[in-house]
Symmetry: none
């Protein structure tokens, strides 16, 4: 028995597929009314089926005229594969030097520009990260942006 969440998921995917630019803008309230459910059900569906990991980008805005924008990231397959492979290599503990080397490799693979390379390194080198040593997290944060690029 197809659950409500499944049906909402299917509905959104159908609309996305029909959208020329893989982007969909809708209203939570409206969608909830269509499926006769509470609005927070929509959040549940979005947070379980339209995550970044699954290749979706969800943005929203509150207030009058508020909306939810869902984008399917039609990524250049090769790029995704490359970055994923590179990522999975160093997903555990990454220190600063490894993070910097990784950025260099991204540039050498032409996945980022020279400017982006320098920008990322400047961030990683900044004093903020010297003690905290959360270079890996910052790196992933920046990589997500690159993955979002259609």
């Amino acid at each position: 028995m197809s659950s409500l969440a499944n049906r909402i998921e299917a509905y959104i995917k159908r609309l996305l597929a029909a959208s020329p630019n893989s982007t969909l803008v809708l209203q939570r309230k409206e969608l909830a009314e269509r499926f006769r459910c509470v609005p927070s059900q929509i959040n549940y569906v979005l947070s379980t089926r339209f995550t970044t990991e699954l290749g979706y980008l969800v943005e929203s805005r509150r207030g009058g005229g508020g909306f939810i924008r869902i984008r399917r990231l039609d990524l250049n397959r090769d790029k995704v594969v490359q970055i994923m492979e590179m990522l999975s290599e160093l997903n555990s503990e990454v220190n600063k030097d490894e993070a910097l080397d990784f950025v260099t490799r991204l540039m050498e693979s032409r996945l980022i520009t020279r400017r982006e390379n320098r920008l990322m390194k400047a961030v990683l080198n900044s004093e903020f990260f010297d003690d905290q040593a959360n270079h890996a997290e910052m790196l992933v944060c920046m990589l997500k942006v690159l993955l979002e690029d259609s």
Copy 2:
């Protein structure tokens, strides 16, 4: 969807883009009539979307023949250098929102790309800076990299 405020914003930006000197003079009442809204809605749009932080200058005059003049101030490299110098001096005076607005300006003035814009915002938005709150320093750090480039 697109709220009234968004539509008014878009309308003004369209007129601004079409204006040779990036300046626009209009009347609040007239604009309100065009969009069939209360005049103060115009003030709302101006104060949320055409702020100094976002690079706009708004002047006005009341009374008969009153008007509102909106000017877009484009950034160039020299100005950014100046701003950076100011920034690095008055470090703690810049909060996150101001930093984000500035990045938006950089992009609209074509000094950085869309990707760089997103990258920088991701960094500024990252949880690392939430408590430390030295957004200005990070911003300057990133700007230096971008400006030393040709």
